[in-house]
Amino acid sequence: METTMSFTELASTSGMSPRRVLGVYLEEARSECLRYMRAPGFMLPIMLFPAMFYLLFGVLMAKSEGADAARYLLASYGVFGVMSPGLFGFGVSLALERDGGLLTFKRALPMPPGAYLLGKMLMAMAAATVVILLLLALALLLGHVTLTPMQVGALLLTGALGVLPFCALGMFVGTLIKGQGAPGMLQLIYLPMSFMSGLWFPLPMLPKFLQQIAPVWPSYHLDQLALAAVGMRQGALLPHVLVLFGFAAVFLLLATRRLRRHG
């Protein structure tokens, strides 16, 4: 009774100018970067693990096979490396922050949900770029791989954008599992999926059945793009881009739905 009238009076200064809204996105991204740069223990293993893998299997063990093997594996291990900041950087941090109550607190505050997600996304993209840079350094300096500047740029771009579908997948898993259970679950997705997409051994070396179902995995499609970037593959790229895009959209949608409903 007394309420309806008072609301109009109260609804006054709650609007935010577009500039201030943009400011939230910047502040959120800045905080996200700061906190992980100050705690390198979380991101560093995620970035170094693929580089170590490439050094062992792509550079040292593939020496006898020549530069083409190192070039081929640069693409595959690059994809393997890019998946990790997406799945773990995004998924595990989300699972931990849901567990610790930080996400609940942020949802109660007037934070645009997109700002929170974008901050994490930029973090993952930066980490993916570092991974590719590390692998490029190993390939060019130790693996005797030669790449044109265009190819270097294409591979970096593939890595920086290719992390996004895995961010979406990591985010979805992060909304399903709280806290310490998430890393284990993500390993169960990460390692088999990498193997079955031909990231560790080229697909033709795998059993026929695995070759046939490989297009199911997003990492397979990203590998096709990465191979094209380093000049190891011809043919249309658009179908792979579209599959990755669709994959990212579906998991992003599922994850945001779960976040909105359950937090």
Binding site: T3, S6, L10, A11, E27, L102, R107, A108
Partner: protein
């Protein structure tokens, strides 16, 4: 006067179920502008669910939830609130000043950093990492985050847990200052003396419903019993034999008498012992009232269940 004051937050016949458990069973709540409403109740009474609904964290199964006349899930409504939750692990490596800057960026017209720090008494902590603070200091920082956006309504969930007496006193003073500026506060607390010290009104919950709502005085008046204390030569047994006395015990020299008819008992005491001194008569405190009100609700709920069975 209270009725002409605008409402800032409201639950109207709200039902919320988690599977077979009914957390809120037709809950009603009104927070008016400029008042501090203390939400009290034993664990499991539904306080957290009520707060979660008003913050837009969860959705009601039935009934209406309003924050400034809007759905709390609307970000515009939440731009007018400040929040201090019981357990939120803030990013440990960020400095206090950075946390404040980030949180203030969410609001249209936040306070200046120095003003927030001054109000919450954390001016000396701004450069420190959040993880390096003591539990009480972290609580103060969380309080600063709650008020940095110049909110019109502040949600404080057990704000003084883990604080020493001095810090608690400072926080109470800051809350009073915010109230004086016209800010409303919804406070949940287990410390009844905190509600007694700060609240304009209290709302007691049990079994997912509001079982009492009114001023602190009104809640205390629900309990008819009064306490009489005095120094007297009369023995406990003599006083116990008086029909109006419901309980009596002795603590050193001092007699403690509980009765519903304080006037009659005092008259008899003074007649029986002319040397009697240090006479005190007091209405039972909020703690006793709270215990009695929730016990009544427990009994009512048990009867309901028996009838249903």
């Amino acid at each position: 006067m209270a009725h002409s004051t605008p409402t800032v937050a409201r639950l109207d016949h709200v039902v919320k179920r988690y599977g077979r458990l009914t957390a809120l069973d037709g809950a009603d709540l009104v927070v008016r502008r400029g008042e501090l409403l203390a939400l009290l109740g034993p664990n499991g009474a539904g306080k957290t669910t009520a707060i979660g609904l008003l913050l837009g964290l969860i959705r009601a199964d039935a009934g209406k939830v309003e924050l400034f006349g809007q759905d709390p899930q609307q970000i515009d409504a939440r731009r007018r609130i400040g929040v201090m939750l019981q357990d939120a692990e803030l990013p440990p490596t960020l400095r206090v000043g950075e946390l404040l800057r980030l949180t203030a960026s969410y609001y249209p017209t936040p306070r200046a950093l120095a003003e927030t720090a001054e109000l919450a008494g954390i001016g000396d902590l701004l450069k420190r990492s959040y993880a390096k603070l003591s539990g009480g200091q972290q609580r103060r920082v969380q309080f600063a985050l709650a008020l940095c956006g110049r909110p019109e309504l502040l949600f404080l969930d057990e704000p003084t847990v883990g604080m020493d007496i001095e810090a608690r006193g400072k926080l109470w003073a800051a809350i009073r200052q915010l109230l004086a500026e016209g800010c409303s506060v919804l406070l949940t607390t287990h410390y009844l003396e905190e509600a007694e010290a700060l609240a304009d009104r209290v709302c007691v919950m049990a079994h997912g419903r509001m079982i009492h709502e009114g001023t602190v005085e009104a809640l205390r008046a629900r309990v008819a019993l009064k306490r009489i204390r005095c120094l007297s030569a009369l023995t406990v047994d003599t006083i116990r034999s008086w029909p109006e006395v419901s309980d009596v015990w002795q603590d050193g020299e001092r007699l403690h008498i509980t009765t519903a008819d304080a006037e009659i008992v005092v008259r008899r005491l003074l007649d029986a012992d002319t040397q009697l001194c240090e006479l005190e008569v007091q209405r039972a405190g909020l703690a006793e009232a709270f215990t009695e009100v929730t016990r009544d609700a427990d009994e009512a709920s048990n009867i309901d269940q028996r009838e249903a069975a």
